[in-house]
């Protein structure tokens, strides 16, 4: 009976939904391959765990930044290609602050070098000894400035770039946002110079290295900081959407903008709130991303953007939980892909998953459920 | 072929080939459009529920029913915009169920839309010229390399397009962007454009909605003319009087079902119809 049932279900799956069947087959093959690699000693459990952990951390960043993108995508109806550069802008603003404070306002190096986050190798983050434990004040201040600066940037951009053509449809807005993206990105490069800088001293971040099964896995204080900050903010957004009037209005608007105009939800206020929340989270994610990975470059946000789009699409545009879950999935895919494919293709794998999803299930995992 | 199996009418059980023999060849000549057991659901809503009817060649048949009765959805299922959940649609003796819209149109069954859908950033003439079938210049290589060939046909098509615009009295708008037309003019354009595809049969979804009375009069005249030339029409319309006066047969839909069909008189006096309309409106 049982097997017959399974066989029948299987047949139905293959005929009704060949793509899903294909994905299941691929998944099974991948799992078998991992087992094989474990058996032959090509890979250790600890390594897999490290990769998954790395993916989770990345996923938190992507998810956090994805919430803002998803909200503007559904409420304002356009894919904002400048979103990645909001992340970078927030990171630079925040890190300039962190450097300034950690560098004791010029005591360690010239104020200019600190404010430019050590442009051209004039100051090194490692030399300032920045991390959550030794310079908590600098980190927290940086976080707050990153948040505030990105909010200001998002509002400014909306006021002068997007609002004037808000009525002309998603595609003109998308094209405009590409212009904004390049303007911001290269402005940052102009001011902060094109070099990639280390912001924290590699290895100097306090960590624990427990041995798990067959090897040691590293968990740092910055992992913990990221979990606390990202988790807390995600919870905050959840409460905001579920418990407040503003949250309800935002959900209504993402479902149907014209409807909420008729029903008298103050659209402009909701839009502003969207930019504030989205921008704030984005700035924080940029700052935390840099804290976590320890390097900062003018291109960071752009490189992250497509992964964020992937997460948002995966989760279903407009769904905040979708963005979070999508972020985690994409983060883990991008990190663990190296188990099976050459590392050069890890990011490509994440994009590939996104393309597949767009084609198979463009409405995302959380389709049919309204925002939140 | 699960549609064929699930069909409930005893006369039409079996395979599709049997179906055609059941209908007989004589039928095919007289009945271009033949629909059975059509069903379409959207999520929880059953928009069309076991609808079946046929349309005779060279007639104007009306399809009426209250708002949401499933008329447009029926059109969409016939013309391939939606794939029906089950049921059969035959056109000129061949099964066209589930074909792509362009395949249906190329077989000579062409529809217009309830809300006129002009190609707004193209001129009226351009709109018209999209329609003709089998244009040589639709092959990319010919458009680039064999201009003479293409041009020759283009001249013919341009002439036909002007004639048809003349026929509908919108030739003065030929150079206008379709988006600048009034609602009524768009309806005319849609019909004119559909005609240029050389159809056998036209499905018109509320062709008179938003058309002013004078224009409506003229449009009706044109449709009568065309019917006399041998075109077949299936028309969805809310204006009862108009349907009753102009159609030889009327099909009434209600909540996805075919409530009844018959001559205007029969339908007018049908209790169910009266109830459906009154019930729907009260």
């Amino acid at each position: 009976m049982e097997t017959a049932n399974i066989a029948q279900n299987g047949r139905r799956l293959v005929t009704k939904n060949p793509m899903a069947a294909f994905l299941i087959v691929v998944g099974v093959v991948l799992i078998i391959d991992v087992v094989r690699q474990l058996a032959t000693g090509d890979i250790t459990f600890a390594r897999i765990l490290s990769l998954v952990w790395d993916g989770l951390m990345r996923g938190l960043v992507i998810g956090l930044a994805g919430i803002g993108l998803s909200m503007t995508y559904s409420i304002l109806n356009f894919a904002n290609f400048a979103h990645g550069d909001y992340i970078t802008a927030g990171a630079f603003a925040g890190w300039a602050t962190t450097y300034l404070i950690a560098g004791r306002f010029g005591a360690e190096s010239s104020i200019g070098s600190l404010l430019l986050v050590g442009a051209g190798g004039s100051v090194f983050g490692g030399a300032l000894g920045i991390n959550v434990v030794s310079t908590p004040l600098a980190v927290v201040a940086g976080l707050i400035v990153a948040c505030g600066f990105t909010i200001a940037l998002a509002l400014l951009m909306d006021r002068f770039v997007f609002k004037p053509i808000r009525g002309s449809g998603g595609i003109p807005l998308l094209i405009t946002s590409i212009g904004a993206a390049f303007a911001i990105r290269y402005m940052l490069r102009f001011v902060f110079d094109p070099g990639t800088r280390g912001t924290t001293a590699a290895g100097a971040v306090p960590d624990i290295r427990p041995t798990i099964i067959d090897g040691s896995v590293v968990f740092t204080m910055h992992d913990l900081a990221l979990i606390v900050v990202a988790g807390g903010l995600m919870l905050g957004v959840h409460l905001l959407l579920q418990r407040t009037k503003l949250g309800k209005a935002m959900r209504a608007m993402s479902d149907d903008q014209s409807l909420s105009r008729i029903t008298g939800i103050p659209t402009e206020r909701v839009i502003r709130a969207t930019w504030i929340i989205g921008g704030g989270l984005t700035g924080v994610s940029g700052f935390m991303f840099v804290l976590w990975k320890g390097t900062l470059s003018w291109n960071d946000g752009w490189l992250l953007l497509l992964l964020i789009f992937a997460a948002v699409i995966l989760g279903g545009i407009g769904s905040v939980y979708g963005a979070i879950v999508g972020g985690l999935v994409i983060g883990i895919v991008a990190s663990t892909a190296v188990i099976w494919i050459p590392s050069g293709f890890a990011r490509a794998a994440a994009f590939f998953v996104m393309i597949l999803f767009l084609i198979v299930r463009p409405q995302g995992i959380f389709a049919g459920r309204s925002t939140a | 072929m699960s549609e064929a199996e699930s069909r409930s009418e005893p006369a039409h059980t079996g395979t599709d080939e049997e179906l055609e023999t059941n209908r007989g060849t004589a039928d095919v000549n007289e009945i271009p459009l033949w629909v059975r057991n059509l069903r379409k659901t959207f999520g929880g809503i059953t928009a069309v529920d076991d609808a079946g009817f046929e349309v005779e060649r060279g007639t104007m048949t009306g399809l009426i029913g209250p708002n949401g009765a499933g008329k447009s959805t029926t059109f969409n299922c016939i013309t391939g915009v939606h794939t029906p959940d089950s049921g059969v649609v035959e056109f000129n003796g061949t099964d066209i169920t589930g074909l792509e819209p362009y395949e249906v149109a190329n077989r000579g069954l062409v529809r217009t839309f309830q809300i006129a859908r002009e190609l707004s950033e193209m001129t009226v003439l351009e709109n018209m010229l999209v329609a003709p079938k089998n244009q040589r210049g639709e092959k990319l290589w010919r458009s680039v390399l064999a201009r003479e060939d293409v041009n020759q046909q283009e001249y013919e098509l341009v002439e036909r397009a002007w004639e048809t615009l003349d026929f509908f009295d919108i030739d003065h708008l030929a150079e206008e962007y379709a988006g600048n037309l009034s609602g009524g003019q768009r309806k005319l354009l849609e019909l004119a454009r559909a005609l240029l595809t050389d159809p056998d049969m036209l499905l018109l979804d509320e062709p008179f909605a938003g058309v002013n009375p004078t224009l409506e009069e003229r449009l009706l005249e044109h449709i009568h003319d065309l019917r006399d030339q041998g075109y077949t029409f299936l028309i969805v319309e809310h204006d009862m009087d108009l349907i009753m006066q102009n159609c030889s047969k009327v099909i009434v839909m209600h909540q996805g079902n075919i409530l009844t069909e018959g001559t205007p008189d029969q339908v007018r006096n049908n209790e169910q119809v009266i109830e459906a309309y009154l019930g729907g409106e009260v």
Binding site: I355 | L119, G137, E175
Partner: protein
């Protein structure tokens, strides 16, 4: 030119209609484009002369300017086919360009060990013409693969898919795995992060040698046009009057001229494509795909054709662009190149072929090459001053009212700033001139004039006789 006389409001042929650009009205498109080009060259020359730029440098600049104008105009034309006509939102252009030039490289690089760069991976050693055809086909094929599933997607999703695809292409080019390997006895590869040295015959030389075939038959010489005419007469002739070897400058010019010719070919090809029943269906798809389908057009097929042709052309442009640069590296193919081409298209107005050429020219002259030229000129004038090395050093003196360091820093970093400028220009265009600088253009998609046929003129509203 007989039907220039406006036929009431029915002046059909867009290229004979008056156009207005920057507030100046031109009798037709051709004059407008010519005036635009001449003005551009004049501006460049005036700037150069006033500053006292060396003649050789100036001439070289003009050659390069032509190169960029031709390339961006071609690119905008190809993109116009996809976006302007069909409404397919491709922001992965650079991926198709990379595919084109990389495949050409693999096909036409000398076999491993025989080329000038023996240390590098080799190629298949095929003639450049074969390589180019292969590159174009490969770009088209990639377009086909992308189009198959992507056609069902909304425009914004297609945008995301195409840009992701172009990044996947770049990752593939970067990857160590594909950088080197042996296939069927050949040592091939994409070169990884180091890229590939393009040690095949120089495209210009290859072209002239190919053209030389009939002459070679007559003269019995190999590459007569190249050795005797081009090198022997033109290059040597000019070198009599100039100090130093002028070959590189002449090469630049000759290649730019070839590109202009190819641009002409593009224009004819895309105009014919647009002004035809094929182009009409594409436009109809852009306006309303469902309606077009309901009128009996297999819209997917048209979309695929349009997308594939556009991508193949982009592949060709990639070859023409990067094939003469001596080498290619993956990180050249970043999305900013796609961004350039979109700006060029938006300047000219999506949907217009003439506009695309104009947009490409304006973009190349004033947004792309202009700032670089300005930097060049300013630095020459100021005698190659040394600019501050960081923004802080540039800004600090402003407090003491010294803006020179900031100015120098700005000039020095022109390449960054020019992208900021482009971004701003794109935003302003989308706000003020979303239809392009030429405004909304009525380019009619048909291969013949749509005037009412003479035989039909007398027919009034009495519509007795119709089709069939």
């Amino acid at each position: 030119m007989t039907d220039t006389e406006p036929d009431g409001e029915y002046a059909q042929r867009d290229d004979e209609e008056a156009v207005s650009l920057f507030g100046i009205t031109f009798p037709n498109d051709g004059t407008m484009l010519l005036a635009l080009l001449l003005t551009t060259y004049a501006l460049y020359m005036i700037a150069g002369f006033v500053i006292g730029f060396p003649v050789r440098g100036l001439v070289n600049q003009l050659g390069q300017l032509t190169f960029w104008i031709a390339l961006f105009a071609m690119s905008a034309l190809a993109l116009n086919l996809q976006w302007g006509y069909t409404g397919l939102f491709n922001i992965g252009i650079v991926g198709f360009m990379a595919t084109g030039v990389y495949v050409t490289a693999i096909l036409s690089k000398p076999v491993y060990g025989t080329g000038t760069s023996a240390a590098q991976v080799g190629g298949l050693g095929l003639p450049l013409s074969v390589g180019i055809v292969g590159g174009v086909l490969a770009a088209g094929l990639l377009g086909f693969l992308a189009a198959l599933p992507a056609l069902r997607l909304r425009a914004d999703y297609l945008a995301i898919v195409t840009i992701a695809l172009s990044e996947i292409v770049r990752f593939a080019l970067l990857s160590n795995t594909l950088s080197e390997g042996t296939v069927g006895g050949y040592t091939l590869g994409l070169g990884g992060g180091n890229g590939l040295i393009l040690d095949f015959t120089d495209p210009l030389e290859a072209l002239i040698r190919a053209l030389s075939l009939p002459f070679d038959l007559v003269t019995g010489q190999d590459g007569f046009l190249w050795t005797e005419i081009y090198i022997g007469i033109i290059v040597n002739g000019i070198s009599v009057f100039t100090p130093g070897n002028p070959k590189s400058v002449i090469d630049t010019f000759a290649y730019a001229a070839v590109l202009l010719l190819i641009l002409g070919g593009f224009y004819v090809l895309l105009r014919r494509t647009g002004n035809s029943p094929f182009g009409r269906v594409l436009k109809a798809i852009r306006e309303d795909e469902d309606v077009t389908n309901a009128l009996g057009k297999n819209t997917n097929q048209f979309k695929i054709k349009s997308f594939v042709v556009g991508c193949a052309l982009m592949g060709l442009i990639g070859i023409l662009w990067f094939g003469t640069q001596g080498s290619v590296t993956p990180n050249t193919f970043r999305p900013r190149i796609t961004f350039y081409i979109w700006i060029a298209l938006i300047i000219g107005g999506a949907g217009s072929n003439t506009g695309s050429v104009m947009g490409g020219a304006i973009f190349a002259a004033f947004l792309f090459q202009g700032p670089r030229y300005a930097k060049n000129v300013i630095e020459t004038v100021l005698g190659e001053p040394s600019a501050p090395s960081s923004f802080a050093q540039a800004v600090a003196p402003i407090l003491s009212a010294d803006i020179v360091p900031f100015f120098l820093y700005t000039v020095d970093n022109m390449r960054q700033l020019q992208l900021v400028l482009m971004g701003v220009v794109l935003i302003v265009l989308m706000h003020r001139r979303p239809d392009g600088l030429l405004g909304h253009r009525k380019e009619i998609a048909s291969s013949v004039p749509l005037d009412r046929p003479a035989s039909n003129k007398s027919l009034a509203s009495d519509g007795g006789e119709t089709d069939e």
